[in-house]
Amino acid sequence: MLLVLGICGTAQAAESAGMIKTSKGMVTLERDGQKLIAVVGTPVLVADKLRTGSDGAVGVTLRDSTLLSAGPNSLITIDKFAFDSTTTDGRMSVGVRKGTLAVASGKIAKKTPESVDFHTPTSVLGVRGTEFVIEVGDGRED
């Protein structure tokens, strides 16, 4: 009984990571196998997948003030996020499976850069308090 309660508790406690602040064209959030339309104001939770269509673009502000924004045909995963807003301690891990992502790093990267990573299918990016863009293509275009 306790074990069951424990599992339910974990499933419901998917932590808030941020919020959709801009959304254009087709943008969906995939959560627990469900697809949600990602309109402005939709909360983004840990383990969510953000997907944009060929006309889509989306901007998310994470709770530590990190800005993420993706262009068309992108798939971005919020793999880990934890942040204590009073101490600014935390950690995050964000994946770019395909498409384009622009990043302006936030308070976690400022305080503990070693707790922040961005990853692609073949590489891992470490961040030293900064802004950058990532592209993951299929190799055919150029």
């Binding site: 402005v40 673009a57 989306v58 800005l67 302006a104 308090g129 802004e131 950058f132």
Partner: protein, 202 residues
Amino acid sequence: MKWETVVRIDLRFPLLAVAVLLAAGCASERVVLLPSSDGRPGAVVVRDAGGEIRLDRPYAATARRVGSNETYQASPEHVEERFGAALAAQPMRPKSYILYFEVGSNQLTAESQAEFAKLRSEVGERAAAEVMVIGHTDTVGNAQGNDALSLKRAESVRDLLVEAGVAGEKVEAVGRGERELLVPTADEIDEPKNRRVEINLR
């Protein structure tokens, strides 16, 4: 025999990198470091099976595909062409405010009332605005009383925002008492700069 071993080790990493790229569907990947908006120097370190590349100048870039790994200097036009849609979708920059209080109370100083008016109008301009309010005190009074006072200050700013039409659940208010002095002082010192709330609007 020894020579053979050395050759095998040298080959292993490039082969692994190619294998991973092939497994990822002939992926091509690109990373460009941008100038930071606050002008501070930044860097990105890109690690893969083949090693590590450090980008630490604005527009320094790396492009990788099967069998090649190119580092180059990108231009703003190149970034706009490949990343324009992603950059155009970037949310507004978060903004910080500090509001100050009269001694021992949750009454804003006259200057801070004017600053609050700016905060309120900026909240109204943002889509899906969220506000974090952290209250603080000076060292006059005991720690427990100051915990309560700092929270009261944060909550009074939240109430002012709610009166101005901001949804209450979009505003988080916490108190830190006298733990984080903006101006370090001894105990029982009346320091106006420490009687404050710090606000993060995002």
